[in-house]
Symmetry: none
């Protein structure tokens, strides 16, 4: 398989003031064409570091794609660095200058003189027209390796990549394509999945299988390479079947699906509805549910009963119960879920009450303790979960919300279609 | 100034399946200590590429910080790569194994055998305890350069960096320090701010001033370098004063402050409380408010009245009104805010109703139209905002929630302390 280096240029990146989304976007585009990013390098706006990186990248790979450093200001050095790496002078490209002038003219403005440098190219390089900005791209061969320099502004970069780079990639490839699939799991651990899939995860297997974990969601990544998209998809299908057979209901979704979207689809298919009563998650479950377009078909709404008075007023938790056992307790979680189900007239209601921290914990009820309740047509389930007293507030809340959604998912699966 | 390489490890990164937020976070941390990231490299989960990268990074810089590849599964190769780069065998570290066992025990579980590998270290390396996960970090000298391998999970990485790396950095620096400050603005545009601050933004100025924009929040970034933290902070103070004098109440906060935390502090200082009634933002305002530790002091809770029946049941919007003017309307927004304020007994209540899309728009009420209402002790204000019919659902919701919070912020400022 052919290999590429992706080079991201800019001191705002190496100073940590911006997050680079160009590199992953390009990596995914190249992989889909069967070109694997072997290395991604980020360098500051410094001429020598930049030209050395271009030479190194061209020597080590079959393709170099760089972003950034094509602006009109003094810290934009990609043109000069490419020229230095190739040992070529910079020359003004008249058609590019004309395009930049026309760009300003369409906006009723004269081209500022500063933008003239954006029409400079290493002698003999191919200009890449920019249809939505003034940064002209550059294509140049370095040591026999094609190097593309694209703008750093994401939408200009993507448009130029689609028009000026993508059509030339098949000629570079060796006919191999890569296709990805992700299977998302909940209610298990990365190590348990690692054990169950050990043979599929051995290095060198095609499709390759790996795992990542975030906020309790374990994602199994499957990457297949083959000589056609159809063959790659067939390989993915085979491995997906194997993974699903071993992990069972731990797998909740695929690719862009979330716990909220999957729960929503299950509810919609059954014609059932959901309400929520949230204390420690403070609206996060509602937010995750309503992130999904069309969620109004099954999600009626909810109460964020942060204060005890609202637990009473909105979902009818008896004041005596709150006094007797405290808001963070099994009976209150149960009363919140059952009260919400009654008040909202929904098929199911989810409730959370717990201690998200960083303060408010006691030896009995430490930070990270959350009671999750699900009231349904047949019964109410309550679970106590501990998300770690040392975990940050955001992690406790995000994990609690996902655990609640998974409680409902498993209940819906248990009930059958 | 001393130099560092940051190495990000994982095929999910080089395949473009995840965006790397660890590298920029680390780069900013190092810069604050006067250590400049000269290069950031991302490599796939491949033993040879990894160990070669470690050797190269150690030879080229004064410090190497790597993230990722410390998990319990077969594709986690950072331990082996460091050992190979140093020519050392891996050995089991008994105290680390004990910490991993204890981590599981605190959660009432036995350690799966797969996690045992996370206690393996290159012989003689210093283990970096993980206080919130099982991936033990590693500190090792390669060719005289300290190399730190940290977990890929962001919150584990950050906590380990603060505890185990940061205290050792002053010994590496050369006296130059960089300090950053960010001032966050709302209710204005990036170009208006660019015009107001044009002279401060000229290249070469120290402190340097730049802007970024996200979801309606414009952030003015100020970077100062000096030979002491106190001198850098003094430079930041001067520029901050200039910026605030020109932008006035558009500036809502600094560094880690958010609209929700600033509104919360204003409410707490006045001893006032807040409730919410959300339709199209579906719990997002509540979520943003309760992201803030201690928010229970002023935020009572809210209703996510997604269905019309819940607008009636929870915050008393008359059914006839909903029928007469429709849920997405000025009168319903007003009734939601006033009803919520009454039902919850709060000083203020915020309400939203609108069309988040992608479907449900009409020529009269297009996608992106949101009515925002604020009921307070003196009056109720309602604003109609249009967030763009082509905008994604997530953007419309996030902007609407922030605009609502800013409505309350400006009202609190108007009322005075």
């Amino acid at each position: 398989m052919r290999s590429a280096w992706i080079v991201s240029i800019g001191s705002e990146l190496t100073l940590g003031q911006s997050v680079d989304t160009n590199a992953p976007w390009l990596a995914a585009q190249l992989a889909a064409q069967g070109i694997r990013c072997r290395r991604q390098v980020t360098v500051p706006d410094e001429l020598e570091a930049l030209s050395a990186t271009f030479r190194e990248a061209a020597a080590a790979s079959d393709l170099v794609v760089a972003t950034g450093g094509l602006g009109p200001t003094a810290d934009d050095l990609t043109r000069q660095a490419l020229a230095a790496a190739a040992g070529l002078p910079l020359e003004l490209d008249a058609p590019s200058l004309e395009q930049i002038r026309a760009f300003f003219a369409r906006r009723g403005r004269e081209m500022p003189s500063a933008n003239r440098v954006q029409a400079l190219l290493p002698k003999g390089a191919r200009p890449l027209p920019n249809t939505c900005g003034t940064a002209v791209g550059i294509c140049l061969e370095l040591a026999g390796t094609p190097c593309y320099a694209l703008p750093g502004v994401p939408f200009e970069m993507r448009e130029m990549f689609r028009r000026e780079v993508l059509p030339h990639l098949p000629a570079l490839g060796d006919g191999q394509v890569v296709r990805f699939r992700r299977l998302h799991c909940f209610g298990t651990s990365e190590s348990a999945i690692g054990e169950a899939l050990a043979d599929l995860m051995r290095p060198g297997r095609n499709p390759a299988v790996g795992t990542t974990a975030e906020l309790g969601v374990i994602t199994v990544r499957i990457n297949a390479s083959a000589d056609s998209p159809a063959a790659a998809e067939a390989l993915l299908d085979d491995t997906e079947r194997l993974v699903r057979a071993r992990l069972g209901t731990a797998v909740f979704g695929r690719d862009g699906e979330t716990l909220a979207s999957v729960v929503g689809a299950l509810l919609a298919a059954r014609g059932q509805t959901l309400g929520t009563a949230e204390s420690c998650t403070g609206g996060l479950i509602a937010k995750l549910l309503t992130d999904v377009p069309g969620s109004s078909a099954y999600y009626l709404g909810g109460a964020v009963s942060y204060a005890n008075e609202l637990k009473e007023a909105l979902v009818g938790v008896p004041g005596e119960l709150l006094t007797a056992v405290g808001a963070v307790s099994e009976p209150v979680a149960r009363a919140m879920a059952e009260g919400a189900r009654r008040a909202f007239g929904s098929s199911f209601a989810l409730a959370t009450t717990g201690i998200a921290g960083p303060t408010g914990g006691t030896p009995d009820k430490p930070v990270g303790l959350v009671f999750l309740a699900l009231a349904g047509p047949q019964q109410t389930r309550v679970e106590a979960a501990r998300f770690g007293s040392e975990s940050p507030r955001v992690v406790i809340r995000e994990r609690a919300a996902r655990t609640a959604l998974d409680l409902l998912r498993r209940e819906l699966i248990r009930q059958g279609p």
